[in-house]
Amino acid sequence: MGAALEGSGVDARVPDAALLIEFAESILRGDGARQALAREAVYRALGAAALVDAAAIVASFNAVVKIADGTGIPLEAAKAAATADLRTALGIERFKRDP
């Protein structure tokens, strides 16, 4: 799970993880040339439909964070309790902001 948050993805034990991680990184942080390389790599390895779905997931999670951050909505209490250890282990708690 931690491989989703940092690193190249090679330790994720998810098929084509490194390609997908580079795709996400390039769209959010890369220039046009890096994005084109990453896009083509996903396309060649996984196909056109997977590229569209990867783009859609990046779009979704790049957007929904605006709602969470802009409104200060908390995580559901039950979900926070159920995932407390995991969130601490992964370092997600560092993203929690001061009020």
Binding site: E6, A48, G70, T71
Partner: protein, 247 residues
């Protein structure tokens, strides 16, 4: 293996449901909202795109605390200063928004309802533009505004109790209020925009096609996309981490 020389965004196969919701999202963006006119919603969208070229936003992004950097935004001149401040900050540094800043925007004259609708518009345009950028498409020109007036209806049961903004708890809905939870569920992230129910529909009608419906997220017996659940969550986790998202 696909031929890489054929990679052209306009040739890529967009799922029917996704195509439908993308089209509807652009139409909704250009339609009168609940508290902002169509022209104002499009001005918010244009200002969001413009924020990435704003010198003040760049200084704030690089500052240890964005709240120590003063100055004026490089705005497009179509919206009040307080609205430009909201749009630029949500566009460029949303992860460091604080409750006190949200309250200050209210003091500066932006109502709770207007603020929540801005959040909805910023999120929607972020989704639309990120999708196009990820596929290598040019940013689409913003559409022409549609005629009509904002509906200006505030849900009766709205209170400030869970978030920094006023929300409507599912149990506080009245028969006269649109039910923002009827289609996509009652998670807190849906409730975040519930002061302006139409914004819940505007964003999540698109989002369930970009990502997955609530009922599909943990249905590991079925793959709904060309990516597996594991691949989807890997991507989602990395994007959330890059954005410093705690949710």
């Amino acid at each position: 293996m696909p031929d890489s020389t054929q990679l052209d965004a306009s040739d890529l196969p967009i799922r029917e449901g996704l195509e439908r919701e993308l089209k509807r999202a652009w139409t909704r963006l250009a339609s009168p909202g609940t508290w902002w006119s169509a022209a104002q919603r499009l001005a918010i969208a244009a200002e969001m795109r413009n924020a990435h070229a704003c010198a003040l936003c760049r200084r704030r992004k690089n500052a240890l605390s964005p709240y120590t950097e003063r100055g004026s935004h490089d705005g497009l001149g179509e919206l009040p200063e307080a609205v430009i401040e909201i749009v630029h900050r949500l566009a460029t540094d949303a992860g460091r928004v604080k409750r006190s800043w949200v309250e200050a925007m209210s003091t500066a004259g932006v109502t709770d309802e207007q603020y929540v609708e801005i959040v909805g518009v910023v999120a929607l345009v972020t989704a639309l533009d990120t999708f196009d950028r990820a596929l290598g498409s040019e940013l689409r020109p913003l559409p022409a505004p549609q005629p009509g007036e904002p509906s200006r209806k505030r849900p009766t049961g709205a209170t400030r109790d869970l978030a920094w903004v006023v929300t409507v708890a599912p149990q506080a809905l009245t028969p006269d209020d649109p039910n923002p939870y009827a289609v996509h569920g009652e998670k807190n992230i849906h409730r975040a925009l519930s002061l302006v129910p139409q914004e819940v529909f505007n964003f999540f009608d698109l989002d369930v096609e970009l990502y997955l419906k609530d009922s599909e997220i943990r249905d590991f017996d079925t793959e709904y996309r060309a990516l597996t659940h594991a691949q989807i969550e890997l991507l989602a986790g990395r994007v959330s981490a890059l954005n410093g998202c705690y949710y």
